[in-house]
């Protein structure tokens, strides 16, 4: 958040990354189809910034997050982390990188081992990476517990003794134990109450400033990511459909899908809620096994015309780092539109 307008060095670059999951059937386990979970996505994350990654369930945002930290191997494309290509590295060569890339998971009930004490949940990553001796590790865990707003006395407790919000704090402490550069947070607040959500968002912000962290923050709710993100990427069915500086996206969404996502965020004010136009998207996200032709959003888009079902719109720059893939861009004046069209053609 501290880097507004002054992007640091690229920490991570993702180039044309694809992740397909094969569907196998029969005795021979022949591949009969593929789930196109992430389909040709490219972007850069700068040091110290937060990139929000937004979309509905099934849009591939979690798969992308997990592919970036190499929990999955990509089907194609490049992942460049601090100048090094990591998409093909084997487990042994990945290990030192794991220290620098950590994840916070969505479900604080499922992501902590119920049989382990908090001390070993947070301390084991250090043990695996052979950092410090026993006393040093214990001291570090206690320090981490305090950093995330728990008490050092919680060292010997089990996860079931904590509430959802407290468990998520343990998950964050575990991610921070190895002093990573990049933290991929996959829906870290979706399972929490609104009052606890805001505590957690503030905590993540404080930690970023304190430890100079870079975040990829995955969420389905544009209200939540606005607060933490410097830039926001919107995904739909495996594709990146819009990428923009955070405030710009809220003032001037270009892609109709983004517009619909924005209008779905509830407003806690009855008059405003009644007055504003709500774009209710019909139906669910189509199957990524056999995605629609052309623009993948066209079956649910209220602006769609013939061209949308035939030609896939390219991701074009509308100025100021605001990219979108759409044949009928919103909130773009005529001059900008002509200019971008001309550059795309040439």
């Amino acid at each position: 958040m501290s880097t507004n307008g002054n992007p640091g060095q690229p920490l991570l670059e993702v180039r044309h990354i694809k992740k397909y999951f094969p569907i196998r059937k029969g005795v021979l386990q022949r591949e009969v189809a593929r789930v196109h979970a992430v389909d040709d996505v490219s972007f850069v994350v700068h040091e110290g910034e937060t990139l929000g990654l937004v979309g509905e369930s099934g849009c591939g945002k979690s798969t992308l997050g997990r592919t970036i930290v190499r929990l999955f191997a990509p089907t194609a494309g490049e992942i460049i982390f601090r100048g090094q290509s990591i998409e093909k590295l084997g487990p042994r060569r990945l290990r030192p990188l794991r220290r620098e890339m950590q994840m916070v998971f969505q479900d604080p009930y499922a992501s902590l081992n119920p049989r382990k004490r908090v001390g070993s949940i947070i301390g084991d990553p250090m043990k695996i990476h052979k950092l410090g001796n026993k006393q040093e590790r214990k001291a570090r865990v206690e320090e981490l517990l305090e950093t995330v707003g728990l008490s050092p006395e919680h060292y010997n407790r089990f996860p079931h003794e904590f509430s959802g919000g407290q468990r998520q704090r343990i998950g964050i402490a575990r991610a921070l134990a190895l002093r990573p550069k990049l933290v991929v947070a996959d829906e870290p607040v979706s399972a929490l109450d609104v009052s606890i959500q805001s505590q957690m968002l503030n905590l993540l912000e404080d930690l970023q400033n304190e430890f100079k962290l870079t975040y990829i923050f995955i969420a389905h709710d544009l209200g939540v990511v606005r607060h933490v993100s410097d830039r926001i990427a919107v995904m739909y069915l495996g594709k990146l459909v819009e990428l923009s500086p955070a405030e710009e996206l809220y003032q001037r969404p270009i892609m109709p899908y983004t517009e619909a996502l924005l209008s779905a965020v509830p407003v806690p004010d009855p008059d405003i809620a009644a007055a504003r136009e709500r774009i209710v998207l019909e139906g669910d996200v189509p199957s990524p096994i056999d995605p629609p032709t052309g623009c993948r959003f066209h079956p649910r888009c209220r602006y769609a015309t013939g061209v949308c079902s035939e030609i896939e719109p390219p991701l074009v720059d509308y100025g100021g780092g605001h990219l979108a893939a759409c044949h009928h861009p919103l909130n773009v004046d005529k001059a900008t539109l002509e200019a971008t069209r001309a550059t795309v053609r040439s």
Partner: protein, 341 residues
């Protein structure tokens, strides 16, 4: 005056545990009229789900203790036998649970599960029940209901499963639909669809709805009246507009202030309510929100009563602060500008 369907009078629910009695619900009262939507709002552990489940007799247990009355059309549901309760549950009071992933049985087809609910309450043959199930799925907006009725739950997406749950809850045309966090597990886009669906079906079926949520944003659109619960108690209760535009209780301000808002400029820091709700075994004496309330003063160690302090006599709250102080201090919290509640 519309027909009053449900009257909850001073309901107490306690569960005996090894550590003591957990007073999950501690003196809750409200009424519900036909055609209305009542929102019950509060954090996890405030007793809102226990209240809802008690209405359906789902909290009955050897360790559970009940006091007060739950009058459904004049009949006290706390007193009826388990057997009699079966006839109310589903037929008169329908329930939608939070998690559509776990509330459907994975080994039975969607249609079978809906038909089973119908056949439990009505004498209708299998074919007739299935036809009704198809019709219900159509009403809740499932595409191709004739074929989807034979699907298993895993073939449905989260939003579709919640729609199927709603179809099941509505299958016997209940007078009251109780929805416990029906949208919490869903995407915002699907949340908007489900809320709109519940609101439309309420009119189609001429029923009343109790909508339980932790997010005031969800009920702003559709609730007629809102009850705010904290630590087993009702701390504020008012008509929706009154609650949003003249909130009396600092806890309500905090809930309003914690929601990240898109219709306002982004604040430097999000407002949050410090700490967590208290244990319900040894609730703090006096106002239960006192330990987390930045406006607390000496008087707060005494228990405030739930009464009206404003012009609108139906607007009740539990707070000792005087009216002028509240008006002067709440705006900052609600707009999310102060860090403390």
């Amino acid at each position: 005056m519309a027909e009053t369907l449900l009257e909850v009078k001073d309901l107490h629910v306690g569960f005996a545990t090894e550590d003591g009695v957990v007073r999950a619900v501690d003196g809750v009262s409200f009424e519900l009229e036909r055609g209305k939507v009542l929102g019950i709002v509060g954090e996890s552990g405030s007793g809102k789900s226990v209240t809802a489940m008690t209405l359906l007799g789902l909290t009955r247990d050897v360790n559970a203790r009940f006091e007060g009355e739950v009058l459904y059309k004049g009949k006290d549901l706390l007193q009826v036998s388990e057997r009699e309760m079966q006839q109310y549950r589903g037929a008169e009071l329908g329930m939608i649970f939070q998690d559509p992933m776990t509330s459907l049985n994975p080994v039975y087809r969607i249609g079978e599960q809906i038909a089973e609910a119908i056949r439990t309450h009505e004498s209708i043959d299998k074919r007739g029940a299935k036809k009704r199930a198809v019709e219900l799925l159509r009403q809740v907006g499932i595409p191709n209901p004739e074929t989807r009725v034979d699907d298993f739950p895993h073939q449905f997406s989260g939003g579709m499963r919640q729609r199927a749950m709603i179809a099941m809850a509505l299958s016997c045309n209940p007078d009251i639909l109780i929805a416990d966090e029906p949208t919490t597990a869903l995407d915002v886009t699907i949340q908007a669809q489900i809320i709109e669906l519940i609101s439309r079906l309420k009119d189609d079926f001429n029923s009343a709805v109790i909508l339980i949520t932790h997010d005031l944003g969800v009920v702003a659109d559709i609730a007629d009246e809102i009850v705010v619960m904290y630590a087993g108690r009702v701390v504020e209760r008012a008509a929706t507009r009154e609650l949003f535009y003249n909130p009396q209780m600092p806890y309500t301000w905090g809930l309003l202030g914690s929601i990240p808002r898109l219709d306002r400029p982004r604040p430097d820091r999000l407002h949050s309510i410090k700490g967590a709700p208290p244990s319900l075994i040894n609730a703090p004496p006096g106002c239960r929100f006192r330990p987390r309330c930045p406006h607390a003063f000496e008087k707060c160690t005494e228990e405030p009563a739930l009464e009206s302090h404003v012009q609108d006599r139906s607007h009740l709250d539990r707070c000792w602060l005087d009216e002028d102080y509240k008006v002067a201090h709440r705006a900052l919290t609600i707009s999310g500008q102060t860090e403390a509640a």
